[in-house]
């Protein structure tokens, strides 16, 4: 990075740190913050969409649709996320390749499962083994996003389902009394009113999503926690910049990042809540009285 960094062994003090903190690996570390933010910004809307669809399914009058919605919520919510990430992504990847194999390689001889191995024709590999590395990265990233969206979609569905039910019956009844159809009452009354009830839950979910990003490494993506562990671990003389176990400092840095990020999110969410709560009397409107103690 700096011109004086060519011989790390000779460096001292501030210069040493200047060089140390600008190594290629540190640069990757800083970039991984971007990866995390990108993941969040893609995953959140997708999870919300999944959640909304599932919540609607769970309210549906068609029984199989309802079972699907409720089953999705119950099962995915029941499984700890770690377990989900430990085997679901591999399964998902295999499923995709298996389908491609079925479509693309009709004349392929031999079974797909050979003993322990899962072997599909080269044309069905996802992505192709000849593809450049960034395609592999993008594919891995998409799988991660999709997995996150499925998991968080279940929780979002639960929040939205509850919020839809929290809208006072009288409000919906009145709409129906005025001839709004179920669908109209849903879109015109329930959906606008539910956000007040849903936002605390969704906000919470967003906070949790932020803090779930360390699981990315389980999905083969190098995130900030991976780098913090990597960089912080004890470095012997085999490295250019040897140092003892510094994980504590790296983790403290992560702590600061997470606290700052959640704080910023909280401020935005609070603003949003104030906007939404306009007019709807209950929530916090008369907070002063609510306090005990």
């Amino acid at each position: 990075m700096f011109s004086f960094c060519t011989d790390p062994q000779s460096l001292e003090g501030a210069k040493w740190f200047a060089c140390y903190l600008t190594t290629g690996k540190h640069m990757d570390f800083y970039r991984s913050f971007g990866t995390v933010l990108l993941l969040l910004s893609v995953t959140a809307p997708m999870a919300l969409l999944f959640g909304f669809l599932a919540a609607m399914a769970a309210r549906a009058h068609v029984a199989p649709l309802r079972w699907f919605g409720k089953g999705y919520m119950a099962v995915v919510r029941g499984v700890p996320d770690i377990a989900f990430f430990l085997f679901f992504v591999i399964a998902l990847d295999q499923a995709i390749e298996w389908i491609r194999h079925r479509i693309l390689c009709t004349e392929w001889e031999g079974p797909v499962y050979r003993g322990n191995d899962f072997v599909v024709c080269p044309a069905a590999k996802m992505p192709l083994s000849s593809a450049p590395q960034w395609v592999h990265d993008a594919y891995g990233f998409s799988l991660a996003v999709f997995t996150f969206a499925i998991v968080f979609g279940a929780f979002a569905a639960n929040v939205l389902f509850g919020a839809m039910r929290a809208v006072p019956r009288a409000q919906i009844e009145t709409a129906e009394a005025y001839g709004l159809s179920r669908r109209q009452a849903f879109w015109r009354i329930v959906v606008p009113q539910m956000w007040v009830y849903a936002l605390p839950g969704l906000g919470n979910l967003w906070m949790i999503l932020i803090k779930a990003t360390p699981l990315l490494f389980l999905l083969g993506i190098r995130d900030i926690v991976y780098y913090a562990k990597e960089l912080g671990g004890m470095k012997t003389q085999a490295f250019d910049y040897p140092h003892p176990d510094w994980r504590l400092w790296y983790f403290l840095a992560l702590l600061v990042f997470y606290l700052a990020f959640t704080r910023a999110s909280q401020i935005v969410l609070d603003r949003l809540m104030t906007r939404l709560a306009r007019g709807q009397a209950t929530l916090g409107g008369i907070a002063g009285n609510g306090a005990g103690a």
């Binding site: 409000q171 009844e173 009145t174 009394a177 005025y178 709004l180 109209q184 015109r188 007019g279």
Partner: protein
């Protein structure tokens, strides 16, 4: 009032809301035990009766918000189609229900204004989304209605910022904006002062003159006497007595009604 003056009028007008032998229970509590009510075009039918006698429940059954367990609900000659039996009975045809409700507006005892909309939006909502009317035109009408009920300055306030009486007037404006063929009023003047009550009386009379049909639940005997063509006295889930207001209030035939009314007279 001479009988011969009323009879012919009643017969030539077609019935708009008909309830026949309506039964409704909440769990073990039988609230309606077979009630028949008919409201003809342009008529105002008042429901009176002591607290808890099932007046609100009756209105809610007429509007199909509550499923009655037995009996018929007939709107403009078209009987509601039912599916299921007993406590499980419910309307079979959603389209029919919506069609009926579009022509039948209700003012709730607790007002039930939509909390996430301003007063003006509350009034404009149904005409625009249900009747698909032109928003600009609806807005003009809505503002006029709000001025008419005396809260023209509260157009942009939220429901939670209004006093009880103001909310009630907004609810009335909302019902009128639909220009329905029939209206259900559940104690529309409970939170209003006498001045405003007179306004509401005027509104109801105007509506009746336009040929709209109304079912009105009220505790205010003067209101009932003032606007009704027909009064129904509900007692313990059955009709205790019914008839034209003059007869009901001046010459009650049953002991129970006489007793009920004596309270008003005593005051």
């Amino acid at each position: 009032m001479p009988e011969h003056l009323i009879k012919p009028t009643v017969e030539e007008k077609p019935p708009v809301i008909e309830l026949r032998d309506l039964h409704k229970s909440f769990g073990n509590l039988e609230v309606l035990k077979g009630v028949d009510v008919t409201a003809r075009k342009g008529d105002v039918v008042s429901l009176i009766g002591s607290s808890g006698s099932g007046k609100s429940t009756l209105l809610r059954c007429a509007n199909l918000l509550e499923n009655s367990q037995q009996g018929d609900v007939i709107f403009e000659g078209e009987p509601v189609k039912w599916a299921g039996h007993g406590t499980n009975r419910h309307p079979a045809d959603r389209q029919q229900v919506i069609r009926i409700r579009t022509n039948l507006s209700m003012v709730f005892q607790q007002f039930n204004l939509w909390a996430h909309m301003t007063i003006l939006q509350n009034v404009m909502e149904a005409p625009i989304t249900v009747l698909k009317e032109d928003p600009a035109e609806v807005e003009e009408r809505a503002r006029a209605l709000l001025v008419k009920v005396g809260i023209g300055d509260k157009c942009d306030a939220w429901p939670a910022q209004l006093s009880g009486g103001q909310q009630q007037r907004a609810a009335i404006a909302r019902a009128l904006a639909m220009r329905p063929r029939a209206l259900l009023f559940d104690e529309p003047t409970s939170a209003l002062d006498p001045e405003l009550e007179q306004e509401v009386v005027k509104v109801i009379k105007d509506l009746a003159a336009e040929g709209r049909t109304m079912l009105l639940v009220t505790h205010d005997m003067r209101l009932a006497a003032d606007v009704s063509d027909h009064v129904v006295f509900l007692h313990q889930g059955r009709i205790g007595e019914e008839g034209p207001p003059d007869q009901m209030f001046k010459h009650p035939r049953t002991e129970r009604l006489r007793q009920f009314l004596s309270a008003t007279a005593a005051a």
